[in-house]
Structures are given as C-alpha cells and as structure tokens.
Amino acid sequence: MENNERRKEYDQQDRHCDRNQDMCSSTDGVNGTALQRKVSLISGICMIVGTMIGSGIFISPKAVLFHTGAVGPCIGVWVLCGIVSTLGALCYAELGTMITKSGGEYSYLLEAFGPVPAFLYAWTSVVVLKPACCAIISLSFAEYSAAPFYPSCEPPIFIIKCLAIAAFFLLVIINSLSVKMASNVQILFTGAKLLIVVIIAIAGGILLAKGNTQNFSNAFHGSKTSLGAFSLACYNGLWAYDGWNQLNYITEELKNPYRNLPLAIIIGIPLVTVSYVLVNIAYFTVMTPVELLQSPAVAMTFGDRVLHPLSWIVPVFVSFSTFGAANGCCFAAGRLILVSGREGHMIKILSYINVKRLTPSPAIIFNGVISIIYMMPADIETLINYFSFAVWLSYGATVLSLIVMRFTRKDMKRPVQVPIIIPIVVLLMSIYLVFAPIIDEPSWEYLYCMIFIMSGLILYVPFVYYSFSWAQRIIKPLTLHLQLLMEIVPVENKEE
C-alpha cells in the first residue's frame, strides 16, 4: 500500500523532473528516504505571505507613522519598504535557483564563503534567532488569543506561557507527522489572514467612497523631514516585511523550484505590499494619526468602529494569523537545522528524517524544545531586539555572496539572473540597517551579541574542524538509540 502510494508520488515527480534533470533524478527507488517535494506554488506563496504578515500590521503599524509624522509619507514608506523587500527577494530568487539547496542563507554562505561564515550563521540562527523568533510569535499568538477575555488588564503571564507552549507543541506534532498537513495548515491560516486583510481593505474602501477622507486631505501636514526619522521609519517598516526569504529555506521541498520559487516571490511580496498599503489606508479612514498611535491594538479599534457587531472577528483572525506565522516559522526553522546538520555543522542526527512520515522530525523537535525554553523566561523580546541587527547582517552577507559568486562562479547555471545593481542596492541597504539601530541607541548589548556570534568559533574548531573522537563516543550510541526510537534515518542524496 504505502509503497504503491509512494511510487505514485515518484511518478509524478518524474514528470516534473523531466524538465529539471539534474535537480531530482528521482532514482530513489523503493528504499529512497528523503524529503518529498510536496510544497506547491500555492503553499509556497502561503509560506511567504503567511510568515510576512504576522501580527504587526494588525496590532502596531505605529512605528512607521510615528517616525514619519503624517499620513502621506507613512503610506509612502510602506510602499518603499515593499519595494526594498522585493529587491531583496529577487536576489534570493537568483540564489535559490542557482543553489537549489534548502537552508536559505546558510547554503549560499557555505557555497560562496566556505564553512566558517556558514557555521557562524547556522550557530546564531539555530541557537538564538529562529527559536526565539518562533517563541515570540507563539507568545503573541497566546497574547492575542487571551486578550479578549481580559478587557481592561493584562492576562496573567501564566496562561500566556501555557497557551503559547500548547500551541507550539501542537505545531511541532503536526510538522513532525506530515509535511502535507503542515503545509495545509499554512494554506488554511494564510487564507484566514488574507480574508481579514480583505475585509479591512473593503471596509476601508467603502468608508473612503462614503467620504471619510478627512485624514487624507492634508496628508503631508506635520510630516517630519529629517533623514534620521525617515530612515527609522523604513527600518521599522522593513520589520513588518521580514520573512520574504522564507521559501529559500525549503527549496528542496518545493515542486519545480526553478519556476515556483521566483514565481512565489513575485506574487507573494507584492501581494503583501498591496495588503499593507490598503490596510493602512483603511485605518486612516476611521482613525486620526493620533488615535492610531495611541490604540493598543489598531485592528481591534478599527473593527469596533466599523465592523460592529461583527467586531469579534478581528481578534479571532489576528490570532489565526499569528498561529499561521508560528507554523511557518516552525516549518522553515526545521529545514535550516536539517541542512546545517547534514553539512556536519550541527549534530548529525538533526539532519535525519522519519522513515515512515518523511518529515525532518529531529530538527523540528530540536527547534521546538529550544523555542519552548525561550518561552519560559519573563521577557525574551528584549534579548531578541538586540539580535535584530544580526538578521540584517545575514541578509547583507548573503547578498554579498551573490555578488561575489558572479565573479568566482561564472560557470554556474543561473535560471534567474537579476541586474547586478539590485544586489548592490540591497547590500547598501543592509549595511545601513545593521548600523541604524546601533547608532540610534548605542548599547553594550550589541557587543555581547557579537561576542556570542563569534563564540561559535570556539565550538567550531574542536567539534566541527577536528571532530574530537571523545565527543563521537558519546554521540554514536545516542544516535543509534534515538534513531531506533524515533525511526529516523539519514537523508539519501537524490542527486547521486
């Protein structure tokens, strides 16, 4: 039975692979154990959109307005940030189709600069950035789910932690059981999120048509003209767009990646940009800039003013939205860990996949455990804020790798090739974004973060470079039993 089904899948895959011979020779045969190409274009787009649109646009689209000071420039900045993200994503489209490995930045850095930068990236991402990010998204899911029950105060911390952990447990289970199920969850929740965006946008459009335009009549009044304020607005706006690289983490599972990866990017990011702009316009039809800045949850305020008595749908859909984002995070983080494990930069067992379910369950569970640990302490967000510069550092390094490879790897096949000016612009932008928060508010914590990142080298030398035998002596039996317990085996490399 199972074999028959699998064969069918392989057959389908063969048909894809006719066009992409070297991608998947699909000669895995009966014994092949590898991640399947189960992510279609639709789920690819959902992966991008679902991760980009988290909760920010619903809860606090304030920072951009705060720094621009007026409605007109605010919307301008949202558009501009969308364009910058698209440019960044185009570079990633080139990289993703050139190096068709999962793992995103990690694989590109490895290819362009060798193992050390790639290891440092993996070290920082696997241990801090990805799980902390998952933790924060789950916590905000819990917060938005619990908030309606505590109308005038903060929900008790205990239930927020409890709900966040429960939700992430569930996501880890889903993602370990089935890739198909995980991507269906992603499609479902992205659908929900787009639905609420559409509802808000349409409601805004109707109000606009009714003549609620007073906030747009003087759209540039009070705008701040300083470059510093403008750049801070962009910095904050770009955070709302973060996640545009999500699909690059799972290239190996994308059906027909040469077509679908660029296509998903070209469809997904403009979709998000348009959503953001429309939602912002809708907000301004019922809220003055001051009201928007002071609302504790902007979409809720909008819902109460416009959608009453259906205003309850807003908090419901906002928590759906965060749940979807958490799923995307869980999905992608698992793949990054898998790839770095496969390269020997993490404990090897993390790269194994489940024999029967063909999911990277060790990586997902590992990420889940770290994420849940991060949910426990009181305030994880302050920690992650300081690491935010590391995110742009990795984007910058990745785009630099694209430029470098244009010279060092002239012969590589590039199905998508962007004009060289685009990566250069994105590189400059990233350099700026690495330094903007540090210059804005210098703090020793940035130095500690840098020290932490560099401390990866202390692990790299003995464990990866020399691969001490005593470490192996512990890991070997552990691997053996865990393998048997979890029914996990190494991935068979399809390209062979």
């Binding site: 045969g29 014994n31 154990t33 819990a142 619990a146 908030a147 029950f149 505590y150 109308p151 005038s152 105060c153 929900p155 008790p156 911390i157 205990f158 239930i159 409890c162 709900l163 952990i165 429960a166 939700a167 447990f169 569930l170 880890v172 289970i173 001051v290 009201e291 002071q294 609302s295 504790p296 949850a297 809720m300 305020t301 109460d304 003013r305 009453h308 205003s311 496969r342 390269e343 020997g344 090897k348 790269s351 024999v355 691969s467 890991i475 039996p477 691997t479 053996l480 039993h481 393998q483 048997l484 317990l485 979890m486 029914e487 085996v489 190494p490 991935v491 068979e492 490399n493 062979e496």
Partner: protein, 669 residues
C-alpha cells in the same frame, strides 16, 4: 537479538543498502560503508544497528517493543500534554475574576481646572504630567473647561463644544489629551448637564420661542408687575432665594436651581436629552476617558410645579429664606432621572468597546442623610449606571475628626453600598476647606493613609498630597473678590519655591498663591523622605503593588477613641496587612488580647513617620503617636473574613483568591 524476523527483510537486503551520502561527514560515511561491506549478501545474518544506519537496517529493529512502546508513549504524552496545557488555559480564563479597570486600579485626582491646566495647555505639559507618574496617579479629573461666563468657575457653560479661551484652544486640549494618553493617564471631564449660562445660544433661542428650543428650559407663567415678580411656586435656589426669575423677552419666568445666570435645562424635553447625548459623543470622540456628572440630582423637576413641603409646617411661607427649610421632593431625584443616566451609560458603553478604552461615569450628588439615594447611582443588578457616585461623607470629618467618627463614616458607605460595587473615598474637594486647614500637619498624613488603604478608589484633591492649606482671604487680590470664599481651596498648585510657586510666569494668578508656598511645595517635598508627599507616594506605590490592598478583603478589627484598625487580606496571598490609624492622642493598643491568635510580632511596612519604617512591633502593645498611621505586614495563619465572628465586618467588592504557584487570581473560592 531480535525475536521477530521483520517479514523476511533479510532476503530483500541487497547491495543497494550500501548507501553513500556525500553530505555526511567522511568519517561516518566510511564507517557506514564499512558496515555495508559487512553485510554483503543475502545469506548473511542481518546487520547490527549502528549510528547513521539507513532505513533497511533501522526497520529491522525499530519495531521492537523496547523502541516501539516508548515511541508510542512519548507521542501520546506529547498530545496529552498539549491538550492539558490548552485545557489549563481555558480553565484559568473561566475562573479568572474581572480585572480592575483604570478607574479602580489607580487613585483619582481632581485638579482644580485652573491649576496646572492653564499651564498644561500651553507649555510644560510633560513635566507636569510626569508629576502624576511620580505620584502613581493615573486618573485625573480636570474640572469644567467649557466656554463659560466665569462667574462660577466654569459652571455657567456658554458652549458645551468649546474650550474656554482662558485655558487655550481646542487644539491645545487635544494635545493635552494626547500627551496624557501617551503617558497612560486618563482624563475625566466635568459634565454639567443641569443648566447652562443665560448667554448660551440655546437660551437666547428659547427666549424667542424658536422651534424646538422653545422647550429647552423650564419656563412657567408668572405674574410680573412694576418690576416685582410673583414666582409660580415656593421653589428655592441652593442659595435660598427664589428659583424663578422673570424674563422680559419671553414674558415668562425661568427656573434656576443655582444662580440667576444659570437657567436649568428642561429634561422633560426629548430634544434636550438628545442634545446632551450629542455633547457627550462630541467629547467621547475626542477621546475623553470619563465624565464627572455634576449636580446630577437636580436634573429633573416635577412637572406639576406644586409647592415643596416645609420642614417646619408652622413657619410662615414668606419667611422661608434658606434651602434647608424645604423638603425638596419636587426638585431633586425625580422619577425618570435614572432613565436619563442609563441612556448616558449606554452612550459611554458604545464608546467603551475599543480595547483599552473603557469610558467611565461618576456622579456628583450629595444626598446628606439619604445615603440610599446616593447608592441608586450605582445602578441595579441588571442596569449599570455610574461606576461610582462620589462619596462625600468623609468630608464631614472636618467638624469631628476622631477615631470613632472615622469608623462610622467608613462603615456608613460600606454598609449601604450594594454588593459587588466599588467604593471610593474623598476628603478634600474644591468646594470644601483644605484638609490641612482642619486636620493640621499632625493628621494630614494619617488621613492620606486612610484614603489609600481603604478598599476602593481614593479620590484626592490636588495639593492634598503635599498638604496645601487654605489661602488667607485678606492676602492678594483675585479676579473676582466677591467669590473669594469659594476660592479658599482653589489656590494654584505649589510646584516650587520660584515666583508664583512655579505655577505661572505671569505676575498674577487667577487665585492668589498661598503665602507659605516657599515652605510647602512639590520640589522641596520630593527631596524629603519624611514629607507628606513622600508618604502619599509610598502609599500609592504600596497600594498598586500589593494585591490585598487593591482588591482584597477589608475587615474592621478594632476601634476606640484614639485608633481605628482594619485588616486587608486576600485568600492565598502570603502577606496581609493590618492598618492602624491614630486620630486621637498617642497611645499603645493591645490587639493581641482582643484578637487571640494574631501573630505576636508584626513588621511596620509603612508609617506616616518615616523613622519607624521597617521596625518590628509587638501586637500586644502597638504604639502609635498622635496622628500616626501604620501599615503592619504579617504572614497570616488564618483570615479574618473566614471567621464567623467577623462575617458582618468584612467587605470585598469582587471575591477573588490568589494562587501563588501560578501567580493568578481565581473567583471560584
């Protein structure tokens, strides 16, 4: 090794098993390869498991019970755990008590509107507002700022939709509101629905009998001849003269409960009710957080216009010259009053739906000995009305500041308040003498301690927290000397020792600055740990921080002619507080003998005398100096409200218990 031969896989094993994976580290690949070579043919025994084994080898062993069982167990455990966590969340949400709203969680300060407002509106908003943050006060009532003919300090409103130019423009007001909201402060506005100024455009239209405005005011035919008017009935203003005045333009008398220039609106008119709702909405849309509804009991008058009964039936009607000589059965608290308030409440509720935007209503009505009438403003169990009616009863302490009286006045409110509602306490306000003037330096701190440790919202009047005193009537010159008596407690806030107490940079202030502002001001007291301000601030912080103090039980423990003592406690909370306040002479109180089982020693968490903070006292001899208040902390072994004996002496608004393990409150206890 294994008992079962997994469906003869041995035979199926072929050379293909020997997998080769580039991605895997070389060393391990070599071993894997080595292992593969060890299994060259089908006839060989099945291979031993090894780290990095492929599917074929793995499946030989992974089905063994020793792996399968734990696997299944762990899987189901994971599912059960996540369901349990989700269930726990739901359960806690269900048992959580209602959380405290902004008007419950923070003390409430009334600022005479001329005080920092005239300054806030123009400049220095941030510094003045950060004073409230410093004090830990989040709700601020700003008084009336409507455009008015300022004879009665803004209570003669000429336009409900305009800010008086004395304070600034509407834009200034909006900026102030935004600045307050940025700091998390709430702004409560005065709403003066009973009357307008006679210069209000509505009154002008009503005089001319223009359309719907004709019935906006209370008009009645009256006899007017040769400049003398015979009023339609014996109704009086609160000042004791006839409440009726002749208007030559309309040729009728109009009714005014207050001054001659303050004609009463006619709430029997549907249009007036609508109009006032629009006024509420106007300010709610601006973002105002609540209203103090002024003089609410006077809203309606009986439409039969009969004479009110005399208190002394033998008195000749023409000799009646004081408001207290009539029973005000036809001019106060008329049928329908509460319907109007319900409508207002509904309007506020409409604007309360947005997150973090609860709009509250407080009524201002002093019903003297008919406290039950005041309690009606809380609404009924089905229909909510005011969040609380202001409790003016403690202002009676002015004449009788002694311990038993304090107890009786506290109990008067607590015993009459309908269950489940939220009390409030006020000692000073703009219409009475400064607390300092009658309590003196000796008792000012203990009165602040009483306010801030009773259950409910402490409502203070600006300046009481630094112990400001009445101004001397003969010093300085005010804008309107005729009204000076009412300005006694309305002098500018004493910020610093600078000119005009740092209140204003102009040479003259609305009401003169108190002459002793150089010794009593915020700046000086901030630096003095024993000052009235420091005690107030410490109390406000303690009240916010300690659950028993802001939402726990209060139980009367003891009172005599010198001290009044009560406990604040919460089930499950490891700390409880015994508050013992001295309103008489220095004394030593033995609570140990009166309450057997009370801990022998208690820790002074806070004293109005800073030097006593942190000391231990024996409960068999709790010494309090004249006017000293103590907040004693102890670890309760039993709770007062659990004892039958104290059943009738304990109060709580919203029953809740604390579970320290999870740091949550629950109501099922």
């Amino acid at each position: 090794m294994t008992k079962e031969d997994v469906n003869g896989t041995v035979v199926e094993l072929s050379g293909e098993t020997c997998y080769d994976n580039n991605a895997i580290e070389e060393r391990e690949t070599a071993e894997a390869g080595g292992a593969c070579q060890a299994v060259p043919g089908p006839e060989i025994e099945k291979p031993a498991p090894y780290a990095g084994m492929p599917k074929e080898v793995l499946l030989l062993y992974s089905g063994q019970a020793r792996y399968r069982l734990p696997r299944e167990i762990i899987f189901w455990l994971a599912i059960v755990t996540s369901l349990m966590l989700a269930g726990a969340t739901v359960a806690i949400i269900v048992v959580s008590p209602k959380c405290l709203n902004w008007w419950q969680s923070s003390p409430f300060t009334s600022s005479g509107k001329h005080n920092f407002l005239s300054l806030c509106f123009s400049s220095g908003i941030q510094t003045k507002l950060s004073y409230f943050e410093y004090l830990n006060v989040k709700s601020i009532s700003i008084g009336s700022i409507y455009k008015s003919s300022s004879n009665d300090f803004g209570y003669e409103v000429e336009d409900f939709r305009e800010v008086d130019e004395v304070f600034g423009t509407m834009e200034d007001f909006e900026n102030l509101l935004a600045a307050m909201h940025d700091k998390g402060l709430k702004l409560v506005m005065d709403f003066i629905p009973n009357h307008t100024s006679d210069k209000h455009v509505w009154f002008q239209m009503s005089r001319n009998r223009t359309g719907k405005f004709t019935e906006y005011y209370v008009w009645h035919d009256c006899h007017h001849y040769n400049g003398s008017t015979t009023p339609p009935n014996n109704w009086l203003t609160v000042y004791g003269d006839s409440a009726w005045d002749y208007d030559a333009i309309r040729g009728q008398c109009y009714y005014h409960q207050f001054g001659k220039g303050q004609p009463d609106l006619n709430y029997h008119s549907y249009h007036v009710q609508e109009e006032m709702i629009e006024v509420l909405k106007f300010w709610l849309q601006k973002g105002v957080d609540g209203f103090r509804v002024d003089a609410v009991k006077f809203l309606l008058e009986a439409d039969h216009f009969r004479d009110e009964p005399q208190v002394d039936v033998m008195q000749r009607p023409e000799n009646i010259s004081s408001y207290s000589e009539l029973h005000h059965d036809y001019t106060t608290t008329q049928l329908g009053l509460h319907d109007i308030l319900h409508n207002w409440r509904n309007v506020l509720d409409e604007y309360s739906r947005e997150p973090g935007k609860y709009r509250s209503m407080f009524t201002d009505s002093f019903d003297d000995n008919k406290i039950a009438t005041t309690m009606l403003y809380y609404g009924s169990s089905r229909i909510k009305e005011a969040d609380f009616p202001f409790n003016f009863y403690l202002t009676r302490l002015k004449n009788q500041l002694y311990s038993r009286n304090v107890f009786e006045l506290v109990d008067l409110w607590m015993a009459n308040m309908p269950q489940g509602h939220w009390p409030n306490w006020m000692v000073g306000n703009q219409n009475v003498y400064r607390v300092m003037s009658w309590a003196g330096q000796d008792y000012i701190n203990v009165i602040n301690m009483l306010l801030l440790t009773l259950p409910g919202t402490p409502a203070t009047y600006y300046g009481e927290e630094i112990g400001m005193d009445n101004i001397n009537l003969n010093s300085g010159n005010a804008e309107d000397p005729g009204k000076l008596v009412s300005n006694l407690a309305r002098s500018p806030m004493q910020w610093s020792s600078d000119d005009n107490a740092g209140f204003s940079k102009s040479n003259r202030t609305w009401v003169p600055v108190h002459s002793e502002y150089r010794s009593v001001n915020v700046q000086m007291q901030k630096n003095d740990s024993g000052s009235t301000l420091a005690v107030f601030r410490a109390l406000a912080l303690l009240r916010e921080k300690e659950l028993p103090l802001h939402r726990g039980w209060m139980c009367y423990v003891y009172n005599d002619s010198n001290v009044f003592a009560y406990a604040r406690e919460l089930d499950g909370f490891k700390r409880a507080y015994l508050i013992i306040l001295n309103f008489g002479q220095g004394t030593s109180t033995d609570l140990q003998s009166k309450i057997p089982g009370l801990p022998k020693m208690m820790h002074i968490r806070l004293s109005t005398r800073a030097e006593n903070n942190g000391q231990m006292v024996k409960t068999s001899a709790i010494g309090t100096a004249r006017g000293e208040g103590l907040v004693l902390e102890y670890h309760p072994e039993w709770l007062f409200h659990r004892l039958n004996r104290y059943e009738k002496q304990c109060f709580i608004s919203d029953r809740a218990c604390y579970l320290s393990m999870l740091d949550i409150l629950y109501k099922t206890c």
